[in-house]
């Protein structure tokens, strides 16, 4: 049997009052993007759900594409039958037989079409007895059924619902404004991006690239990470910032134990400038308190001084093992562990200061042509539309 419809339900966005429509439209766009190349199916906007008309396509294939899309609470498969009792009976039986491991069920009929000759109660009884007569080892349990067989009588047709598939939850990407994600290529920053996306933020990524000390594979790795984040909704833009000269200047002019702190301050300044330019309202990082020298509270305090933009650190209190777990689940871990050096590790001292001070950093930076270095870096930014990049390769496959 083939289900003909997939119903997409949203959760939290229904609560958003007057903004409901814009949330709904955003979710619709995110769903549509993932399904764009499936020409057979049709999407329909309904008041409280999105309806996917499958036109013969396997629902599993559609569900797999959108199960990562934030804003979807659940998906539910359904078949559509005529309104006569015989069609409803046989349809209900097909749905029950389609679902494996069902020992108990109940029927919950609803009538949107109130002119329908039978009451919901009568329908429940009639369909229930028909199923009992035509199956073996299946009984009714109205309190804790394995399956609640929902039947909805519409004007001309009746819809019978099958299994529920859990959605990714959260809010649709694009419903909460934009943040700049500092994407290093490590394990943490893609997870931070994922968590910001989960609450609806549009993410653009910044990566600092220091050729020839960091190579194209390191850049490609970041591109792949950005591409992996795209399945949660929306296309990503990646800004690759040339950072070699800034790093050389820091190496040559800054005391060794403050190089890391000052390099981070430079990165954050550049990220803020890009955020202004790209109309992002915040900056996100994968920092986790105490994980490395740059992530002590003293470091965060000293580094954060250079911007008054909000800096979001969704992983600040998450343990490394838990971050790794999420990274594996969202498919970024295997990419992150590719062994290419990123710019954070070159020219840096073996023992960077773990308790840097604002006053000290400011004093040292007087010897650094900050504005000049920033302008040079910003002038050389390469912005990559990650979606387009991956499509080019996917055409070959």
């Amino acid at each position: 049997m083939k289900y003909d419809t997939l119903i997409i339900r949203y959760g939290e966005i229904a609560l958003k009052g007057r903004n409901r429509k814009s949330f709904y439209d955003t979710l619709y766009d995110r769903v549509r993007e993932q399904l764009l190349d499936l020409k057979d199916i049709k999407l329909k906007k309904r008041f409280d759900h999105i309806e996917v008309v499958l036109n013969g396509m396997d629902y599993q294939q559609v569900a797999d594409r959108i199960r990562h899309v934030f804003g979807i609470q659940s998906m539910r498969v359904a078949i559509t039958v005529d309104n006569d009792l015989e069609s409803i009976h046989s349809g209900a039986l097909r749905v029950i037989k389609e679902e494996e491991h069902i020992a108990t069920f109940k029927v919950s009929a609803r009538r949107k079409n109130k002119d329908y000759p039978m009451t919901s109660k009568d329908l429940n009884y009639s369909v229930g007895s028909f199923i009992l007569k035509n199956t073996e080892n299946v009984t009714v349990d109205v309190h804790h059924p394995d399956m609640n067989l929902q039947i909805e009588v519409l004007e001309d047709t009746t819809r019978i619902y099958g299994k529920v598939i859990k959605g990714a939850g959260g809010l649709p990407v694009g419903s909460a404004g934009k943040v700049m994600l500092m994407l290093s290529g490590g394990i943490d920053s893609p997870v931070a991006g994922y968590m910001m996306m989960r609450r609806g933020a549009t993410v653009e990524a910044i990566h600092f690239h220091s050729p020839p000390y960091t190579n194209d594979r390191a850049k490609q790795k970041v591109l792949d990470l950005a591409a992996a984040l795209q399945k949660f909704g929306g296309r990503l833009k990646l800004h690759v910032v040339p950072f070699t000269n800034a790093q050389i200047a820091i190496r040559d002019r800054m005391p060794e134990n403050y190089r890391m702190t000052i390099m981070r301050r430079m990165m954050l300044r550049i990220a803020e400038r890009l955020a202004v330019k790209r109309e992002a309202l915040g900056i996100a990082t994968g920092e986790s308190l105490g994980q490395v020298a740059s992530q002590t509270l003293e470091s965060m305090n000293t580094i954060n001084e250079v911007t008054n933009y909000p800096v979001f650190r969704p992983l600040v209190s998450t343990d490394k093992v838990d971050i790794i777990e999420i990274a594996k689940n969202i498919g970024t871990y295997d990419i992150s562990i590719r062994p290419y050096e990123d710019c954070c590790t070159i020219f840096l001292p073996k023992a960077p200061k773990t308790k840097p001070k604002r006053e000290q950093a400011n004093r040292f930076e007087k010897n650094l042509p900050i504005e000049e270095l920033m302008e040079e870096a910003l002038a050389g930014v390469e912005t990559i539309d990650v979606g387009k990049q991956t499509e080019a390769l996917e055409d070959l496959l």
């Binding site: 490609q220 070959l396 496959l397």
Partner: protein, 381 residues
């Protein structure tokens, strides 16, 4: 042209050839070179592996690109025997394997390994009880062909997987070359450790294949060298062919959704029509066989004669397996199924792809009737 020899090889999809050409031209650099061009090739290799893994429901690191079915079977069998030889020296397979497996086992016997060849019934199926009897605590490997390439019989892979599930020291290898896309297997659910697949049987380029190797399995490599393919299979990657094969895999799996039920329908019709022919005996069982292979014996003359008679009509079928059919010996598969030598020399195999139409099969049947009548007449005169 009516091509009904798809178990020997398939014509590559045009889209696959396009990809092959573009990749050969634009991604010629060695994926191991550290420059930018090498990086681009490496990226494409990554993406191919990702896609293959996703299509097969396994992890990226569990896909080893090979040169085809022969290498896959050799690697799985010899790699297990040599890699785990401290554990034991007993191996189990069947009488109706592809020569790539049988001859690999013969080599291992020369090296002192002890091989049990399971017999098959007249439908070409092994018995689970015989397998259970043959199994010993020092059995390193059970290696079986999933869909037999000559008669299409499907082995009870899932049941075997269940039997082996609590025997982690015995690896389970499945020669999945004929089954891929047409008789799908879920490697993970069944508990398969190694599965051999080939690119040119699914409309991909020749000289390509994949070996699924479950995470944690460590075989002795056949090809030692620069450590490509996670150190399992050295040699510069054949990138255009790999990308082409993975594209073919995607296309063939998309087609399989409607293609498998379609093949079942046309195959049933073909069976019925051939069964009515007075000289024909069907060797492929009606139940438990793949939907694309039909083997039958034609009484009265050698199969070869009929093959050449049909090629006059631009119709191409084959005797037993292409890999062995040049030798004019009787089929070892049919002999194992209990056919007398004479009949085992008279077998013809028709093998379909999702691309064959009902119309082509109607023409085949008509030509087959016509040609057999002509040949009978000539022989009587």
């Amino acid at each position: 042209m009516i091509y009904l020899d798809n178990s020997a090889t398939t014509p590559p999809y045009p889209e696959v050839l396009d990809t092959y050409r573009v990749v050969s031209e634009r991604f010629f650099a060695n994926p191991s070179s550290i420059h930018k061009l090498g990086g681009e090739s490496e990226d494409l290799l990554h993406k191919s592996r990702q896609q293959a893994a996703a299509l097969l429901g396994v992890k990226e690191t569990e896909i080893i690109f090979t040169s085809g079915g022969t290498e896959g079977n050799n690697f799985a069998i010899k790699g297990t025997a040599l890699g785990y030889r401290q554990r034991g020296k007993h191996l189990i397979t069947s009488m109706i394997e592809h020569p790539a497996s049988l001859n690999a086992f013969a080599q291992l016997e020369d090296l002192g390994f002890d091989v049990t060849y399971l017999d098959v019934d007249e439908e070409g199926r092994i018995s689970i009880d015989a397998l259970k009897d043959a199994w010993r605590p020092d059995t390193l490997l059970v290696s079986l062909i999933h869909v037999n390439n000559e008669i299409g019989t499907i082995q009870p892979i899932e049941e075997i997987g269940r039997f082996l599930r609590d025997k982690p020291k015995t690896l389970f290898h499945v020669d999945h070359v004929q089954g891929l896309a047409k008789v799908p297997l879920n490697f993970k659910d069944i508990g398969i450790d190694l599965a051999t697949m080939s690119g040119h049987k699914i409309h991909g380029p020749k000289g390509t294949g994949m070996l699924y190797m479950r995470e944690g399995v460590k075989l002795a490599p056949l090809l030692a060298g620069g450590g490509q393919e996670f150190d399992h299979r050295s040699g510069t990657e054949n990138l255009p062919a790999i990308v082409g094969m993975v594209k073919a895999l995607r296309l063939v799996m998309e087609k399989a959704r409607d293609g498998v039920p379609y093949l079942q329908t046309v195959m049933n019709r073909l069976r019925q029509r051939l069964a009515q022919h007075p000289l024909v005996t069907l060797n492929t069982p009606e139940f438990g066989a793949a939907p694309h292979i039909l083997n039958f014996t034609i009484e009265g003359f050698r199969a070869e004669v009929l093959i050449h008679a049909l090629e006059e009509e631009d119709i191409y079928v084959s005797t037993k397996s292409a890999c062995a059919s040049k030798a004019s010996e009787a089929s070892h598969v049919l002999l194992a199924c209990g056919l007398p030598e004479k009949e085992a020399k008279q077998a013809i195999r028709i093998s379909l792809s999702f691309e064959n139409t009902q119309e082509e099969l109607d023409i085949f049947i008509a030509s087959f009737d016509k040609k057999t009548k002509e040949l009978m007449k000539a022989m009587e005169a």
